[in-house]
């Protein structure tokens, strides 16, 4: 193909977006909506995952030692705990610290209690963070067998709740995402098929006067790609806007912010480029290749 012909075909592609305004806009909207829904859902899912694991982390396993152990015993247990599988972090809490904490926590409700205390009843303890909270009972059973361990206090209930919630939400989200993707593919394919269908006669005529498939397809391909790219960029802008405004909402709201552990949620800036590329890539690919595929049967004349 001559270069001048190629540039002509590309120009045709641009031109026909305008000539087929109605269909171009329809395809554009549908691709935009589909990608936006899928994209935002994915981001929401990723963040939710992070949030839940943050909440999970807030739940420590507390290992109480026997009363009156020596410093050496404490150190030994400390080392041992550090080497236990599924233990990520071990923090030592002296009995004094424990009492102080306890007082602070319950002072308001039951300050009366502490007046009656004559000596510190708190044992030495370790506060442990786990790698995988779903394995909590195994780990706790394991630790319970260690020397000098009086009792291990683990948030079984809450841990199970969180693990369940995460699983449930991921199932729901996964299902929603899957449904969105299927539905997107159906309506995008419908849209491009329609936009090709409207011009099927034109395509036929081109074939009858000796145009090769490539020649006929190129402008359609260019057209589809441009629509997809524009949809991708707008999608990215809308995602950025809505993502950031949701984050602002949370940020302006310290209670929510800390409660949900949104301290290390995904910052849009970090993934901005990837999102843009994904949107544009999928947009252009779906639209351009969708169009090409839809042309197939009309080209067979």
């Amino acid at each position: 193909m001559k270069w001048s012909n190629f540039t002509y075909l590309v120009k045709q592609g641009f031109g026909s977006i305008w000539k087929n305004k109605l269909m171009s806009f329809a395809s554009f909207c549908i691709i935009l909506v589909s990608m936006l829904l899928t994209g935002i859902s994915s981001l929401a899912m990723m963040n939710l995952n992070i949030i839940i694991s943050n909440i999970e982390e807030l739940n420590d396993v507390v290992v109480f030692m026997d009363k009156g152990v020596a410093e050496e015993q404490i150190n030994t247990l400390h080392e041992k705990l550090k080497q236990t599988p599924n233990v990520r972090e071990v923090k030592y809490r002296s009995s004094d610290e424990a009492l102080e904490e306890f007082k602070q926590r319950y002072d308001k409700d039951y300050s009366v209690i502490f007046d009656k205390l004559f000596e510190n009843p708190m044992p030495e303890s370790f506060i442990i963070k786990l790698d995988d909270i779903s394995l909590i009972s195994n780990t706790v059973d394991n630790i319970s067998t260690f020397n000098d361990v009086e009792t291990v206090n683990a948030p079984y209930e809450f841990a199970r709740f969180l693990v369940n919630m995460r699983a449930t939400l991921m199932i729901i989200f996964g299902f929603v995402l899957f449904a969105l993707i299927v539905v997107s593919l159906i309506i995008i394919s419908n849209a491009v098929r329609t936009s090709v269908f409207i011009r099927r006669k034109e395509i036929n005529i081109m074939k009858y006067v000796g145009a090769t498939n490539t020649f006929i397809r190129t402008p359609f391909f260019v057209e589809g790609m441009i629509i997809g790219l524009i949809a991708g960029v707008i999608c990215w802008l809308l995602t950025k806007l809505s993502y950031n405004s949701v984050m602002d909402l949370f940020n302006s709201n310290t209670a929510l912010f800390t409660a949900f552990g949104i301290h290390d949620n995904i910052q849009f800036n970090e993934i901005s480029l990837v999102v843009l590329l994904l949107y544009c890539g999928f947009g252009a690919a779906l639209s351009a290749f969708g169009t090409m595929i839809s042309m197939g049967k009309h080209l067979k004349v």
Binding site: M1, K2, K19, Y208, V209, G210, A211, N213, F215
Partner: protein, 228 residues
């Protein structure tokens, strides 16, 4: 060269549009095809262009065996033919100029050539001033003439015209057939369907008459233009 052997074409609905047609048109001939409405003339044209393939029989055109043509070859084959369709088939989205330029672009002509050729073709069919119009902005006869200009664009060795003068006034019709004769004299094979018997009588040549899907008459007759 066009050769058809034992052609049968049956459309959905059981209509036998062509029935046992045998035909040979040599290079350089000028052939009129006449016949009643529904006799199968357009079907014959469609066969020559491989728009349809016959239910039975074989078609050879310009050295291609149309039953065996596939993919890119179809496009290359069609470029060896100029066609005027009975329903014009102009591309609605393109201007008159671009409709004609299209077939030149398809055959990879240079920009410069296209810029010279299209205006020449338009002036040939008396439409130089309508180059920028879209097909729906043309009168019936104007559309038909654009279709003719497009068929001539690539100087094809074979020209197939399905009633190219059906919507054109008598004087212009004579001029157009005259033009086709001139092109024919330069070596192009011309197959033309027409209902205008006065044209046929005037120009003469080989006449093929179709009757209910069969060739009922296929002979050379002298034209009155040669007599005069």
């Amino acid at each position: 060269m066009i050769e058809m052997k034992n052609i049968k074409v049956r459309y959905s609905g059981g209509i036998a549009a062509l029935n046992d047609v045998n035909l040979r048109i040599d290079d350089g001939e000028f052939v009129f095809i006449v016949g009643n409405s529904g006799a199968g003339k357009s079907t014959l044209m469609k066969l020559m262009l491989r728009e349809i393939i016959p239910n039975e029989g074989r078609v050879f055109v310009n050295g291609y065996n149309l039953s065996k043509l596939k993919g890119k070859k179809i496009a290359h084959f069609r470029r060896t033919i100029g066609v005027v369709f009975q329903d014009f088939r102009l591309i609605p989205d393109l201007t008159v100029y671009d409709n004609i330029a299209f077939v030149l672009r398809v055959t990879n002509r240079s920009k410069k050539y296209i810029r010279q050729r299209v205006p020449y073709l338009l002036s040939l069919v008396n439409l130089a001033d309508r180059a920028k119009a879209y097909p729906h902005q043309l009168s019936g006869g104007e559309q038909q003439r654009v279709a003719l200009a497009r068929a001539l664009a690539n100087d094809p060795p074979l020209l197939i015209a399905d009633e190219p003068t059906g919507n054109i006034d008598p004087e212009l019709s004579y001029e157009i057939v005259d033009m086709l004769k001139t092109i024919n004299d330069q070596g192009t094979t011309v197959v033309m369907v027409t209902h205008q018997h006065d044209l046929v009588k005037y120009f003469g040549g080989r006449i093929i008459n179709l009757k209910r899907g069969q060739i009922s008459f296929d002979e050379l007759i002298g034209g009155s233009d040669e007599v005069e």
